[in-house]
């Protein structure tokens, strides 16, 4: 079972394409696993807008790959404007492989940013998740 600070990779289908050879895939940090529903924080690889400092999100944490801190293999923006909620058991098989979690100080930074001005809550469609993440 996953726990707070763990990082999982979840996949969702691309809308409107017929091929099953492509899925959208993101890492999520487990923020809260106590209420029956998991609350996850989305991680996004650096895009052009991040490079230009024009982050579309107000609260975020930027991280470069660092095996002592995170499982990322590319510069990453952790989006702290939103929490994604899902009511499903996420198996440890979906944990990131280089390390299973983020370090304490990084998680603390994420929590601070989430709580700074609040966040919006988004539901992840469990059926969509299960259709692609066969380990769920």
């Amino acid at each position: 079972m996953i726990r707070e600070k763990d990082v999982v990779r979840l996949r969702v289908p691309f809308p409107d394409i017929s091929s099953d050879l492509a899925v959208q895939s993101h890492m999520y940090i487990c923020y809260d696993n106590t209420s029956g529903k998991k609350q996850l924080v989305k991680c996004q690889t650096f895009k052009l807008s991040n490079i230009l400092g024009k982050n579309a999100v107000s609260h975020y944490v930027r991280e470069v790959p660092d095996a002592f801190r995170n499982p990322f293999n590319r510069p990453t923006l952790i989006d702290c404007d939103k929490l994604f909620s899902v009511e499903v058991t996420i198996p440890v098989a979906l944990l990131t492989t280089s390390r299973r979690d983020v370090c304490g100080p990084l998680f603390a930074s994420v929590c601070d940013e989430l709580l700074a001005d609040g966040y919006s809550l988004h539901e992840i469609d469990v059926r969509e998740l299960k259709s692609i993440n066969h380990r769920l």
Binding site: F14, A22, N50, V64
Partner: protein, 219 residues
Amino acid sequence: MIYSNERKLALSGWLRNTAYAEYCTSLKLQKFLFFYEAFSKVEGADSDFSGLKGWKRGPVFSAVWGDYTKEPCLFAEKAVEAYFSHNQLVNIERAAICKFIVSAFNQRELSDITHAMDIWGRKKSRIESGEHQVELDESDFTENDEGIIINLKSAFPIDFVRNSTIINIDAKSFIFHNHDSEKLTEAHYDALYQIVESGTCSENPIYVSLDDSGVMNID
């Protein structure tokens, strides 16, 4: 007669030799040269912003632009000659990263990057009013500009660049690990085309990894 200096010729020759498609796009050649000089400056190495002018789509080394457009064959010949005779003028790692950057973004995005930099931005009103040949000053390369270059360096470290392959489809750039790109089939390319046509892609660059079952996981 060619007016570009040896440094710009050598860099252009390197790009022509290693990334012909990018060399053949005038804007991408100019961005490559500009980023190379910007990276050089940030890294504390010799840089050369001489002859840099501001145009609507960003900074342009005007001697290179003139040679490239008016004497394309002679420019190409001199560029390749300069690269082979003076290859010490080209820091290969820096050039590889700058080449990668101009491949990873489309022309509009590359212009967006240079528009965000003060070396161009401080002359923006003159440039956009239609004034021609506005000289850009290296002294206008600010901490903001340094920050953008540092972000680019952070996003595209040399090990990542060496191990990555970019696949461009229309204005979208998909970045694969070299090992994954070798396994792509026609069906994978069909899927990528569908994704581009559907308009659901996020902004460039788009990072893709193949999982064990051959499915492309797209970030």
